[in-house]
């Protein structure tokens, strides 16, 4: 197995407060991995640090052999909430923007994904349901050719059909060597898909385990995850 991401001694503070403390994490290429933790545990912060969006951290983040933020950004694709776009922006305008911003963005690939997700290029962002919006974000993210895909809570508040579509797009579009990190606070909906789980607790990577290993102990992924929180207070 080849290491894709290597984080060493990472500390991240926001407003003088530790969000992440002494994080060490190594991810291999070619995996689907869940990033689990309660709301506010620091999942999004960790993704933002990896993605080079959050700045004020100490420690090392190395992706595909490079430590520079610009290098990392070029090797990963991070879902963002489309927050920079106005409500009346059309999907095709968002696509044009992505195309001009990322040299590895493939319009053909996006078109395949868009058809799969049944999205219309002329729709405006404020016409999209929550599920459609999430499908668009996933299509934009996967239309880039990257080593690491960071999906931040792609299943939040969407219906079962949209979830199924997104899960199938992960199975269909993931290239063999690419790694996908998916954050969620609820593991059941994606547990059959996972190679590994990373659990954030107490502002750090509290556990990192292969799902086969967990299941070989006759534990479900949910039981394992909840068990880590129950040990609290001893």
């Amino acid at each position: 197995m080849t290491n894709l991401l290597k984080i060493t001694g990472l500390n991240y503070k926001k407003n003088q407060k530790y969000i992440l403390r002494d994080v060490n994490l190594t991810l291999d290429e070619g995996k689907i991995i869940a990033l689990l933790g309660e709301n506010g545990a620091g999942k999004t912060s960790l993704m933002r640090v990896i993605a080079g969006v959050a700045k004020n951290y100490s420690g090392q983040v190395e992706l595909a052999g490079g430590k520079e933020e610009a290098f990392r950004k070029a090797h990963l694709s991070f879902t963002d909430g489309l927050s920079g776009f106005g409500d009346t922006t059309k999907i095709k305008e968002v696509v044009n923007f992505y195309e001009s911003l990322y040299s590895d963005f493939s319009e053909n690939e996006f078109d395949e994904l868009r058809k799969f997700m049944k999205l219309d290029l002329d729709m405006r962002l404020n016409q999209l349901s929550r599920g459609m919006r999430e499908k668009l974000i996933i299509a934009l993210t996967f239309a880039r050719k990257a080593d690491l895909y960071l999906l931040d809570e792609p299943f939040g508040g969407i219906d079962a059909m949209a979830r199924k579509k997104i899960i199938n797009s992960i199975i269909l579009w993931k290239e063999d060597k690419a790694t996908i990190l998916i954050s969620d606070h609820f593991v059941n909906e994606i547990s059959t898909l996972l190679d590994e789980v990373v659990i954030i607790k107490n502002q750090t990577v509290f556990a990192h385990k292969s799902t086969d290993e967990i299941r070989e102990n006759h534990e479900s992924i949910e039981e394992y995850y909840e068990g880590l929180y129950e040990d609290e207070g001893e």
């Binding site: 070619g30 995996k31 689907i32 199924k164 899960i167 199938n168 199975i171 269909l172 993931k174 063999d176 059941n188 547990s191 059959t192 898909l193 996972l194 190679d195 799902t211 086969d212 299941r215 070989e216 006759h218 534990e219 479900s220 992924i221 949910e222 039981e223």
Partner: protein, 123 residues
């Protein structure tokens, strides 16, 4: 298909394929669906399907043709054993269930034949 979450998924995929072979849904010499197709059909990771197929190759029930995919063995003896193993599994389950109901082993044959006779009369 529904997976149990506390058993490794690759083992459950193996069981699923073994069952398909035992039931002749997948026939001797037949090509099994591609890794990605199986992954999509079962909503699992491609890596997990690969692991299951690798093990089944090692066990001899599948074989790989380079660049063509995975095929079910044509070894009649192995196919017979596979079918027998599945039957044995179901019988084990039946016997265990009866034992939990307090039925002794030496009563099993009688109970089963009475049951089958009753069923015949109703048919």
């Amino acid at each position: 298909m529904e997976f149990k979450d506390n058993i490794p998924i690759y083992l459950q995929i193996e069981q699923y394929l073994y069952r398909q072979i035992a039931m002749n849904e997948l026939k001797a010499g037949e090509k099994i669906p591609s890794v990605r197709k199986l992954a999509l059909e079962l909503t699992v990771n491609v890596n997990t399907v690969q692991r299951a197929l690798q093990q089944m190759n090692d066990q001899g029930i599948l074989y790989t043709k380079r660049g063509e995919g995975n095929f079910v063995t044509e070894d009649e003896e192995l196919l017979k054993q596979t079918r027998q193993a599945l039957i044995d599994d179901k019988l084990d389950e039946f016997v265990q269930n009866m034992l939990t109901l307090g039925i002794e082993k030496d009563q099993l044959v009688e109970i089963l034949s009475n049951y089958l006779e009753g069923k015949n009369q109703n048919d």
